[in-house]
Amino acid sequence: MSEKKIQLYSLATPNGQKVSIALEELGLPYDAHTIDIRKGDQFTPEFVAVNPNSKIPAITDPNGPNGQSLNVFESGAILLYLAEKTGKLIPTDPIKRSQCIQWLFFQMGGVGPMFGQFGHFHKYAPEKIPYAIERYTKEARRLLGVLNKQLEGKQYLIGDEYTIADIATFPWVRCLDTGYKGWEVIGVAEFTNVTAWLERCSAKPASQKGFNVCSF
């Protein structure tokens, strides 16, 4: 058995938390390195070699093909890679697998970017632009509505199975509160299926651990 551990380059933002939670859930050994994006750690040549886009998270898997190490960036690609490699957190049935991947990409192309824009204009932007805040508040609500409908009568996004689609999404919903202080502005509490699912996912020991890896 290999002694070599996965190297994780991350920070406890929603995208970083996704991968930490997955690693904990899968019980894979890893070393965590904090990349503080407030200090510009993401622009060092060492990190750019792992992720030319200078964003966290990124991993180096020493147990890559032909015994060589493999760098993977983009949280969604990392989740898929870990799931395919272990065969866990992703369904084997081809139909359910495709559904899992659809919801994973829904998070990457929709939930992440749009909640992120909300966070920027609501919390971080020096200039308060009412139109922009309204635009992203509306879209965040719309996306929460889509999630709420999907979660009706279900434990997790694609049914009874907890998958990388859930792991990719719930840290972002949580961030609307913990990161952006936007829970009331967006009215997240109205989406009761989402809030129940968020609680369910957050309560898992792996999630509790994963939230605090590479903390600020």
Binding site: L70, E74, I101, Q102, F105, M108, V146, K149
Partner: protein
């Protein structure tokens, strides 16, 4: 992809003479024909029979798309690459009968965005999210694994670039379009924000294409297909391209592909 070679091979002769007959038979009859000794012996040698019969008997995939929205064209390109028959339904960006947020389309994609496909060759299975569609079609129909590799590690490399497009370039350029062209009020800080991030993302892409033939490495893949509809319009969007020579070269390379030209042949000129 399915091609009928010009030379008179047993395969091409069968298609010329019996193709139409074969395609109009029922499922059971087609299976019988494929298994009949004569036909089987004719094609056993070069093993093309399986591909040809499978591709020839596909029902057209339904592609829900939009004339100017970039994401639908990704799917049109891969359908052309894999020579899968398809029928495009162009939707409007509203909540009417033919709209993305209308009741009938929401049944197919609860998120109400294009593209989405419905595959009649798989019990009308619906797939939405352009990247998920690219993966689904590649995994199901790209038997030679040309567009999406077999190994998990090579796939991780392709997936990271696809992810970069759908979570980075698409949203940033999309918001840039919104604030610079579509929104009535001009908000300089918002326009700057998305323009700068789009340019930053293009510079990273430029570095990647300076070292690699294609976006995910030495081979053309679904990563290139995912980027193309967004990057194709780069010379027209008001982002400075002087420092992006490799990106511009890549655009040319993609634009000359027959499959790409075919995919876009049904696009109406933008107003």
């Amino acid at each position: 992809p399915l091609t009928i070679t010009p030379a008179y091979t047993p395969t091409s002769c069968f298609h010329l003479l019996f193709g139409k007959y074969y395609l109009t038979r029922s499922k059971t009859e087609r299976r019988y024909i494929r298994r009949s000794l004569t036909v089987h012996l004719l094609f056993k040698k070069n093993n093309h029979h399986r591909t040809i019969f499978t591709m020839a008997s596909l029902q057209p995939i339904k592609l829900y798309s939009h004339n100017t929205g970039p994401n639908g064209w990704k799917v049109a390109i891969i359908l052309e690459e894999l020579a899968i028959p398809y029928e495009t339904i162009f939707l409007e960006m509203d909540d009417g009968e033919n709209g993305v947020k209308g009741a009938s389309f929401l049944k197919i994609n609860p998120n109400g965005r294009i593209p989405a496909i419905v595959d009649p060759n798989n019990n009308n299975f619906a797939v939405w999210e352009s990247a998920a569609i690219l993966q689904y079609l590649a995994e199901k129909y790209d038997k030679k694994r040309e567009l999406y590799p077999e190994s998990i590690e090579e796939r991780a490399i392709v997936n990271q670039w696809v992810a970069y497009q759908i979570s980075g370039l698409g949203p940033s350029q999309g918001q840039f379009f919104w604030f610079s062209r579509y929104h009535s009020e001009k908000l300089p800080s918002a326009i700057e924000r998305y323009k700068n991030e789009s340019l930053r993302l293009y510079k990273v892409l430029e570095q990647q294409l300076a070292k690699n033939e294609w976006i995910a490495g030495p081979k053309y893949s679904i990563a290139d297909i995912a980027f193309y509809p967004w990057v194709k319009i780069l010379p027209y969007v008001g982002i400075d391209t002087t420092e992006l020579p490799n990106v511009l070269k890549w655009i040319e390379k993609m634009a000359t592909k027959e499959t790409v030209k075919k995919a876009y042949s049904v696009q109406k000129p933008a107003q």
